[in-house]
Structure formats: C-alpha cells, structure tokens
C-alpha cells in the first residue's frame, strides 16, 4: 500500500518540473542566439533521424527554421507537427485514460500538448507561406485550402466545446458546489486583476491575418473565376474584421471582375511574440471537508500580453498599420476554454483534498506528505507556442523605380530589400521575433 502511495506521489511530482530545455530556449531567443534556440527546439522535438514526437517543440522548431530561411526543413517539421495534431484529434479516449487519471492526481503538464485551434491555422498558414516563398504554387494552394478549412472548423469546434462544458458542470458529482466555486473563482480572478470578460475573440474565432493572406495569395496568383471568388470572399471577411484601409482597397480589386493587379509592394509585418500564460494560484475556501486537511488550492493559467519587437516599420513616409492582433485571437480562444480549465482544476483540487484527508486518517505522516505533494503538484499548464507573433501589420507602397525598398525599423538600422527586377505585385514579409534577433525578410512574388 505504502509502495503504491509513494509511486503515486512520484508520478504526481513528475509533472511538476519545468524542463531545462524550455529555459535554455527562452534564454537563447532573448539573447538573439538564433542557431542555439533553433538547435535546442529541433533536438527537443524528437530524436535525430526520426519523426518528431513532441508537438509543441516541433511547432517552435518549424517557426525558427522558417526564421532561419530553411523553408524546406521548416515545412517538414510542420508536416510532422500536423501529423501529431491528427494523432491528438483522434486519440482514443480509453487509451488516454491513464494519462487523464495521472493528470487528475498531478496537473495537465503530464498530458501531451493539445494544440489550440489558432495553432492549427497558423501551422498551415506558415506552410503556405513557405511554399509561396519557394515558388511552389501547387503546394501553397493546398496549404491555403487547409488553412481555410481549419478556420471553418474553428467555429464548429468552439460551439461543441461550450456545450460540453455546460454538460460537465451539470453532470459533476457536486454540480451545485462546482457552480458556486466557479462564481467564487471569477471574483478571485477579478481581484487579481484578471478580467476574463475582456478576452473577446474575433467574430467566428477567425484569424484575420490568415484570412487576409489567403485572399491576397489568390488575388496575386489566382487562376480563373473560382480563385477570384476565393480572393473576394476572403478579403471581404478580412475587411469585415479589420476595417484596414489597404484590405478595403484589396477587396475592391478582388471585386473587379477584370483588370490585372498593378505592380506594387505589400509589406506585411509579423511582429514580436504572442500573449502567454502565467500562473495564478488561488486558495479556495470551497471544500471545508475537515480541519485535517493541511493544504488546498488551485493554480490557473491566466493570459498576459505579448511583446512587440518594434512598434511599426516605415517605408518612406508610410508606417505599417495594425492588421490583426494575435493576442486577441489567443485570448479569445482561451476565454472559451477557460471555464473548462477552471472546472477541471476545481474537480482535481477536490479529488486531491479527499485523498489527502484519507491519507491523514490512516496515518498523519502520510497526510502531511499528501499535503506537500498537493501543494507542489498544484501547477498550471502554461504551455503554448511561444514564437507566434504579438500582432500583424500592413502597408502598401508603389513599386520603387530602383527596385529597392528601404524598410525603416525604429531603433535599428534600415533594411534594404532588393525586389525582383520585373515589376509585379510583391509581398515583402517581415518577421521580427524580438529586438535582439535581426528581422527576417522574405519576398513572395506573384507568378
């Protein structure tokens, strides 16, 4: 019996360590050491010469390989990540029961990373941009179609998830208690300065930047009426969400049935790092089982703002203007999941507290050990794709006579971009992760 308890405690504590790889990765990125950060992400994604088996690291590695200009390796990494996403979607509930049980004893960090819907949309968007950059228009089209389908599925997904959360509350053993705990937690969150009601998603959980880029791709590279329709429909959606003047102009161009797009330069600026989770610990006075319980509480992940690398870019007298806010997308989706996370955390705290009391009843020393294990294992799941951007910005300028574009970066040297000598519509895609890393500039030309 004692062996079993010790094994359980070990299992519980196993989910509590913060991996060294994550610390190294963050340190390398912050200091601008791209090769070291990329290498640690690639290594953490899976064994060498084998398919990656860690989804979150595969996403980070795919992003940084892309930032390093290694688009083929980036796409391959994202392909593996997509395959892991599929495994996550179809994971057999029975097969994952053991993991779920362990997560109820410890925390959600013991479970494999389950991707957010915005992760899935961004994955296909990045792959489409990789193919576009390499001039592989056939595969770019496939990835845009995938990105579009993922956006369609997003609204369905959240509709189902909200219904499921409602059912979970009503089916919980102590539904009344859970409802009261939820109300109590909301007040505690507000006291801690966390206002969940402010985390509003874009309508339909759409990522406006992904929709805009989808529309722009088909505006630039469309073949025939069906593609023109794709461009029009996506740019109308993007304009509805962003009200960006340039998106309006692109939408009007897509609405015109005829006429070739004039040569010009679109500058899309993918800026900074996205909103991230921080742990908020709350001691809940909800159980009141007995005075024998030494510790009870919950740990919730709450969203904190992302960080821009630069406020904007300048091109001559023009500044890039906000197109879409990745933080809004992330927070909005998280808001929808928040009640589910809260319910699970409350149920978990209940189960742990009951176990602690039972241990205490059989042996006070075991009860104390149980309390320590509960305190240590009460940890929020803070995992997320950290190299997603804070926001997307957009500007358009006429095609320079010199075929050279000068990008002004506040507090940084100007970047001179050599454009194709044959003038045509061109997307200059700028990615700046932070001020320590040089921005990456890619030229995505129309066919």
């Amino acid at each position: 019996m004692r062996g079993l308890i010790v094994a359980c405690l070990l299992g519980v504590l196993a989910g509590c360590a913060t991996p060294q790889a994550r610390k190294d990765f963050s340190r390398d990125l912050a200091s601008g050491d791209l090769p070291a950060a990329t290498s640690s992400a690639v290594q953490a994604a899976g064994p060498q010469d084998a398919e990656p088996n860690d989804l979150l690291w595969a996403l980070e590695a795919g992003s940084l390989l892309r930032h390093s200009g290694l688009t083929e390796r980036s796409t391959k990494m994202f392909d593996s990540a997509e395959s892991l996403m599929k495994d996550d979607d179809t994971r057999n509930l029975v097969a994952s029961t053991g993991n779920q049980a362990l997560s109820m004893l410890a925390n959600d960090n013991v479970l494999p990373y389950s991707p957010a819907v915005y992760d899935t949309v961004m994955l296909n968007t990045y792959k489409a941009l990789n193919f576009w950059r390499d001039g592989d228009y056939e595969n770019a089209r496939v990835e845009w179609n995938r990105s579009d389908d993922r956006q369609r599925r997003a609204a369905e997904h959240f509709e189902a998830e909200i219904a499921q959360q409602r059912d979970e509350v009503s089916q919980a053993q102590n539904a009344d208690l859970t409802t009261r705990s939820l109300e109590g937690s909301s007040q505690a969150l507000q006291k801690a300065g966390v206002d969940v009601s402010q985390w509003e998603p874009y309508a339909g959980y759409v990522n406006p930047a992904a929709v805009y880029l989808h529309g722009l791709y088909f505006l630039f590279n469309g073949e025939g009426r069906a593609d023109a329709e794709k461009a029009r429909s996506s740019l109308e959606r993007a304009y509805g969400l962003t009200k960006h003047a340039q998106v309006k102009s692109d939408m009007n161009a897509a609405r015109r049935k005829s006429g070739k797009l004039k040569p010009a330069v679109w500058v899309l600026f993918e800026n900074g790092t996205a909103a991230h989770k921080e742990e908020l610990r709350i001691d809940l006075p909800l159980f009141l089982i007995s005075g024998d319980v030494k510790y009870t509480g919950i740990a919730l992940p709450v969203m904190r703002d992302g960080t821009p690398a630069y406020p904007y870019l300048t091109i001559g007298r023009q500044q890039t203007q906000p197109l879409a806010d990745m933080d809004t997308i992330i927070r909005g989706e998280y808001k929808t999941r928040f009640n589910g996370i809260l319910i699970k955390e409350i149920l978990r705290a209940t189960a742990k507290t009951v176990l602690q009391k039972q241990l205490n009843d059989s042996n006070p020393l075991l009860g104390s050990l149980g309390a320590i294990a509960q305190a240590v294992s009460t940890q929020a799941d803070l995992r997320g794709w950290s190299t997603l951007p804070h926001n997307f910005q957009l500007a358009t300028v006429p095609y320079p006579q010199s075929n050279r574009l000068t990008l002004g970066v506040p507090g940084h040297d100007d970047i001179v971009v050599d454009l194709p000598s044959e003038k045509r519509p061109v997307l200059v895609y700028v990615r700046a992760i932070n001020a320590a890393l040089p921005p990456r500039v890619d030229i995505l030309a129309s066919r």
């Binding site: 179809t90 496939v142 389908d149």
Partner: protein, 204 residues
C-alpha cells in the same frame, strides 16, 4: 522467480509482436478500406468513368477512324484545388493509359504547357551533322505531329459537417478536352466522389 519473470517476458513479447500490423498484399478489386483523403481507388474510379464517358462522345471520333486515324492529345494543366497533397500526374497517367489503349487517341510528349514532357524529341534533332551519328537514322524535322486536343482539368474538394461526429467530403474531378483548332471544349466531364467519416479531425 527469474524463470517466472523470463516466461512472463517471453509471453509479453509474443503478445506484443501479435499486435503489430502484418504487411500484406491488397487486392484492389476486393479492398474495402476507405480513407477520407484521395487514394488509388478514387483515381482508378474517376479515371475509368471519365475515359468511358469521353469515348462515348460522338465528337471524339476521328473523321478517319476507319482508316486508323487517331486524335493527338497534349496534356495541359490539372489543378489540384483540394487540401490533399496529391500528385495529379497519377490521375493523368491512368487517363493516358486508358486513352492509348482505346486505340482512338495518342498522347504527345513533345508538347507541354511548361515545355515538352520528353525533351528527347527535340534533342534527337540536334544530332543532325554529328560525325558520330549515322545521319540516315537521325530523325528529320517536320515529322513531329502537332496536337489536336488539349486535356486540362481540376480536382476540387468541398467539406461539410453532417453532424457533430460526421463530416462529408466531396471531391470533384473535372476534365476538359479542348479542340486546339478552334479553342472549343469538345468534351467536358465531371466525376464526384463523396465520402463521409470521422469529424474529429481534418480530412487530410
């Protein structure tokens, strides 16, 4: 104890070995396994139905068919507008084989949308004047046959939710044979392949 452990380990190893799927041959005629994406059976079905339809068209009969006249077809672009990373050449190859086997069409490899599929037709003419070659065997200019028709097309995918657990994926194979003499589509065909399945994940 160690004997018991070894026996258990062997039994476990055997039982795990029994769990691994065995490699086996698949008979395409009796294979009932379906995937939400496109597989060889879909290409086979679409290609054979569309070629049969093409061969049934009265406009697709060469005016000198009785004397062995056959239309020459050039392959144009087949756009993959699905979410599946597929090789459209796989579909095209099945169609080409069926067209050739019908005895009514031949396919040119000397002309293609992005240059010839087989550059050897042109390159072999470059041997003219080569001291190494028997000049009587060098292929002459003016003998390569220009195409009569161009085959182009598109594969489209439409996804729809049936209910919370089921999704429907419609694939449309669309092909057009354009008469290169006048630019008119002499034959058009569409073959739909509809699949219903698990909605927990994406269709690719």
């Amino acid at each position: 104890m160690s004997l018991k452990f070894s026996a258990t380990a062997i039994a476990l190893a055997i039982s795990l070995a029994g769990c691994a799927p065995m490699t086996q041959y698949v008979d395409p005629k009796t294979d009932n396994v379906a995937v939400m994406g496109l597989d060889y059976k879909d290409f086979e079905t679409a290609a054979s139905k569309m070629v049969n339809d093409m061969l049934d068209s009265p406009l697709m009969v060469h005016p000198k068919a009785a004397q062995g006249g056959r239309f020459v077809v050039a392959m144009s672009n087949i756009t993959n507008d699905t979410a599946q990373r597929i090789d459209t050449d796989q579909l095209v190859k099945k169609i080409r084989v069926s067209l050739l086997n019908s005895g009514r069409f031949v396919v040119t490899t000397a002309v293609g949308l992005n240059g010839p599929e087989d550059a050897m037709t042109a390159k072999s003419r470059a041997l003219k004047g080569s001291k190494m070659m028997n000049q009587a065997t060098v292929k002459k200019n003016g003998r390569v046959v220009a195409p009569d028709f161009s085959l182009s097309g598109k594969i489209i995918q439409r996804n729809n939710r049936v209910d919370g657990r089921t999704q429907q994926v419609d694939y449309y194979f669309q092909l057009t044979l354009t008469n290169l003499d006048n630019g008119l589509a002499y034959w058009e065909g569409e073959e739909a392949i509809i699949k219903r399945g698990d909605n927990r994940t994406v269709s690719w």
